[in-house]
């Protein structure tokens, strides 16, 4: 693979080779286990087996009764690491109060092509995630627990082996089922997950009811991202103050990020919330812009990104967000509009096609962006695109149209100079070398939603 051409996955499966590369971005702090990385081992990229896991982290700290962990998680300030940054304790509290027995699902569906952090975590530290699942199940009195991950024999086999290892050790109170997620961008959306596990296509549903009210098989369902569960398992062991030893007061803790450098390097790191973006992606003259928040996120000019930290306090006012920790530095010699158009085309194809505005609007927005990416574009393309953007926002069952429009609008802002070049028949990269990763093939079969 040539750096920068970035379709790192083979056809058929999106990610045959779980990525192992990870670095730490925080000086180790005194005391054990104070420093970073917390979720990954300090060295080595191979899977951590149960014995090594237990010798590093001590026994699984069951609390003996439901609900106990909720105030602890509230004090820790842990938020969901799947992208939405919703307070974890609130979901647990809502499900714990339900009248019927809830279902608990660890969400490892990482449909975002630019993100590797969940598959890396599941590959390297499966027992932290499985610990978190057990503790979440105890907290909400669940007897039905699943781990939802994309089809990938190597990873799923390894997870099944980890589950068997724990069964042999008598560690788990509730058996864990590994459930296939289809290779779609939206497969991990909570209501799509609930549909899939209920035996239907993995497509988003209209809310209300929310998944925590009525999810899998109509039962209250607690869905947490796998990284969230790993943090939960550590907070249960070491407490809220330990957790707050990293991050900022408002956004505590560490998180996993997938970094795409302008030179084509791509790796997963664990870093503190509040880390300057310039410490994560190289922002020299070779970088023109940074995509933060993945393909539902927003572009930031490199000069602006250099002033910001990895926090919603900084990124939300700049029109972006932390999301699931994808940061991509676009090289100076690429066309930001052509890149955005290519990804938008993909996002349009990944619409579930259920909601009229998304089904109609996204392909039109993608086509208009293709026009803007071409030499001497029709000047009506931008005005059409802005009208369609307004028509799709807030009108889907899920946030796919909203996220896509956020991404497109940010490109029109940040790459204004590139658009001006196009009106003169010029472009920063007439060769249109692709940079942002996309799956080799876009699944188009109805069956691919199952």
């Amino acid at each position: 693979m040539t750096p920068g051409t970035t379709v790192p996955q083979s056809a058929g499966s999106r990610w045959d080779q779980p990525r192992g590369g990870h670095r730490q971005h925080s000086p180790a702090q005194p005391g054990q286990p104070g420093g970073l990385p917390r979720l990954f081992p300090a060295s080595g990229a191979g899977p951590v087996d149960l014995r090594t896991h237990l010798s590093r982290f001590t026994a699984l700290p069951y609390l003996g009764q439901p609900g106990q962990l909720i105030p602890v998680l509230k004090a820790a300030g842990l938020t969901g690491r799947g992208g939405a940054a919703f307070p974890v304790y609130r979901k647990l509290a809502a499900v714990a109060e339900a009248a019927t027995r809830p279902v608990v699902i660890g969400n490892g569906a990482e449909g975002e092509p630019a993100s590797d952090k969940d598959k890396s975590l599941l590959w390297i530290s499966p027992h932290l995630v499985l610990d978190g699942l057990q503790l979440a199940a105890e907290t909400v009195s669940s007897a039905a627990v699943g781990l939802y991950v994309h089809r990938n024999d190597r990873l799923q086999d390894q997870l099944r082996a980890a589950v068997a290892e724990r069964a042999a050790a008598g560690l788990d109170q509730v058996p864990v089922e590994i459930i296939d997620a289809p290779p779609r961008f939206l497969a991990g959306e909570e209501s799509a997950l609930a549909s899939r596990i209920s035996g239907e296509p993995a497509m988003p549903r209209f809310k209300p009811p929310r998944v925590f009210e009525r999810g899998v098989a109509g039962r209250p369902t607690l869905v947490h991202n796998v990284e969230t569960l790993a943090h939960l398992a550590l907070i249960a062991r070491y407490g809220p103050d330990w957790f707050r030893g990293a991050g900022t007061a408002d956004e505590p803790g560490s998180m996993l990020c997938t970094l795409h450098q302008a030179d084509g390097r791509r790796d997963v790191v664990e870093t503190q919330l509040g880390t300057p973006l310039r410490a994560l992606v190289h922002l020299g003259p070779g970088t023109q812009a940074v995509l933060s928040g993945g393909y539902h996120g927003a572009w930031l000019p490199a000069a602006d990104a250099g002033q910001l930290t990895l926090s919603n306090a900084d990124l939300v006012p700049a029109g972006s967000f932390v999301g699931a920790g994808v940061l991509a530095a676009l090289p100076a010699d690429r066309c930001g509009i052509a890149e955005t158009a290519r990804v938008t085309r993909y996002l349009a194809l990944e619409s579930a096609g259920q909601c009229g505005p998304c089904f109609n609007g996204l392909p039109r927005i993608a086509a208009a962006l293709d026009e803007v990416a071409s030499p001497r574009p029709d000047p009506r393309a931008v005005t059409d695109m802005m009208r369609w953007a307004g028509l799709v926002e807030g009108r889907g069952a899920c946030h796919h149209p909203d996220g896509t429009v956020r991404f497109v609008r940010s490109a029109l802002q940040v790459f204004r100079e590139e658009i001006r070049l196009h009106t003169q028949g010029r472009c920063a990269d007439p060769a249109r070398r692709p940079f942002l990763p996309l799956p080799a093939q876009t699944a188009m079969d109805a069956a691919d939603w199952n």
Binding site: R205, L391, R395, G396
Partner: protein, 69 residues
């Protein structure tokens, strides 16, 4: 409690009947899908709103407690 009108976009197939029955609150976009005026339903329109909800051929129009999203 005041209610708000919402469309389940996964159920809506763009018949457009709702916009004919309730033009005060519903217009159609350029593809024929309803755009609903935001906010609680005015009391004066309660009867028309209920009619639009029950007459939607695919029952995609919902009267829900305000701010249920």
């Amino acid at each position: 409690m005041r209610k708000e009108l919402r469309v389940d976009p996964t159920a809506c197939s763009g018949h457009g009947l709702c916009a004919e029955l309730l033009p005060e609150l519903i217009t159609l976009d350029e593809w024929g899908y309803p755009i609903i005026a935001p906010g609680p339903v005015p009391r004066a329109l309660d009867k028309h709103v209920r009619r639009a909800v029950t007459d939607c051929p695919v029952l995609a129009l919902k009267l829900l407690p305000a701010a249920s999203r």
